[in-house]
């Protein structure tokens, strides 16, 4: 079943005339206008260097926009104080191509870490981490270290860590980039399940097959600009499909 995003839902992310120019003079993003409603599943596609990762970095506030405003849940990220940033990041779940697991911690410790940061009591940490690992199909591997897991399993750990604190939004940057097609598909199933539970998912990807199969919202970025924004899109432009401009 293909779920269609409800564009009447409350917008959780809003980019308003956002520009990002690096000190070297490179214009990574130019006049980006984008609204992401609550519960949306959005693919960011485009060639390497188009600006997808910059957009993700702006969204997790690793970077600030040079011009324009970004609102998440009504809060303007550019004006957010440094000390508030950890609390913002606790509301989102992050998944990366290189997994970003802590090699010295076990699978359980890696997942539990996201809750330790919140200062949650042991009992809650234990039950939630076990639940998250169960969700991603890694029950029984709690005491294994990441280096002893396959790429797909490591990404599952990362996803468990991203969802363990029940975030309202998941941001993923090339989460299937290092995985074989079968494993990538399994990982995508997880994201779909998370989205079905109500979380908004923003995913930058190069995986054409998955984008074409899922037919979710596709925002294509090219040379720092939004080239198209299809409600039920494909990886490559297809003029026969209905298009929307979310501006």
């Amino acid at each position: 079943m293909v779920l269609t995003p409800d564009f009447d839902s409350r917008p959780v992310i809003s980019f308003q005339h956002v520009w990002k120019t690096y000190p070297t003079g490179t214009e990574a993003l130019r006049d980006i206008n984008l609204v992401v409603p609550e519960g949306d599943f959005l693919f960011l596609v485009g060639p390497s260097g188009a600006g997808k990762s910059t957009l993700v970095r702006l969204l997790i506030r690793e970077e600030k926009p040079s011009k324009g405003k970004i609102f998440v849940d009504g809060v303007e990220l550019g004006r957010m104080k440094r000390r508030k940033l950890p609390f913002y990041r606790r509301k989102i779940g992050l998944v990366f191509q290189d997994f970003k697991l802590l090699p010295n911690l076990t699978v359980y410790e890696n997942v539990a870490f996201a809750l330790r940061v919140l200062g949650e009591p042991d009992r809650l940490v234990h039950s939630r981490a076990a639940e998250a690992l169960d969700t991603v199909g890694l029950a029984g591997k709690e005491q294994t270290y990441p280096s002893n897991l396959s790429g797909g399993e490591q990404q599952r750990v990362a996803i468990a860590r991203a969802l363990v604190h029940a975030p309202s939004m998941i941001i993923a940057d090339e989460p299937t980039g290092n995985l074989d097609p079968a494993t990538a598909w399994e990982i995508m199933q997880l994201f779909l399940r998370i989205n079905a539970r109500g979380a908004t998912v923003v995913m930058a990807t190069h995986n054409r097959e998955i984008v074409d199969l899922l037919r979710r919202r596709v925002v294509a970025i090219d040379a720092g600009q939004i080239a198209r924004d299809d409600r039920s899109g494909r990886y490559h432009d297809d003029v026969s499909k209905s298009q929307i401009r979310a501006q």
Partner: protein, 305 residues
Amino acid sequence: MTVLADTMTMFRNLRFALSSAWQSFWRNLAVSMAAVLSITLILILGGVNLLVGHAFSQVLDGFRDKVSVISINVADDTPLASVYDFQQQLSNDPRVASVKFITKDQALAAFTADPNNAVLAQQLDGNPLDAKLEVRVRNLSDVASIDTLGRQWSGVDPTNPTNYQGDFVKRMLELSQWLGYAGAGLLVILVVVSVVIVMNTIRTAVYHRRKEIEVMKLVGATEWFVRGPFVIEGVMTGLIAASIALTLLVIAYPPAVQQFRNDIAFIPLSYDPSFIASLARDLLLGGALMGAVGSYIGVRRFVRL
């Protein structure tokens, strides 16, 4: 309720920081040992500086104690009332700590009691010694002025007024001052060198774990949540280093003093076991502080959000 919840969270964070620090110390043992080694070497240097400083201050205190007493010799024909008047005048002087009158007989008794004077005492005919006022001054720098006061007194023995040795006291004061400067200078150099070394060692250790820090920040750890385990680990490193340095210094202290006394006999250096407690306190405090500050600064670059 909120206060209770905040306290509980703080307690849990502290416990997490402690256990993280402990685990990370052992998991990165090679890097941890490099930090321990550099802090140990610095603390040994610092400890040697403290021990040498203490030994010399003990020697100086001994000398100071001796030269801060000046004897004003009383002429044989001085009336006792005049001596008591002068004693009273000296006692009221704020520069003077105490004044003791020693009669001719007492002076002779003390002289003959000293085994060094045994041969000389047998050859004495009568009592050639003066009665004297032994004046202890509060401050070594006032000995000269009390000497002047004594020499101006009408009852003083004009042939041998006082036992004041101006040059010796002056040199003592100069030596004491220079030793103070040298100790302070050495300490400043040690502190600067140690901060640079410890900071760089810990920065290297932190650099190895920059990815860990990045992940911590991405999952929403506050700066202090990230920093806490590193600072605690720094304190642990410093305390371990201080313990090693202390053990080595305590073992080496008595033979080093003995060796010094054998080589340079005229400086009465002595072993002072009571100083070890103060040395332990200084080294442990110094090590903990060095580790904490080094970690705090070392981790700063990577922690800032």
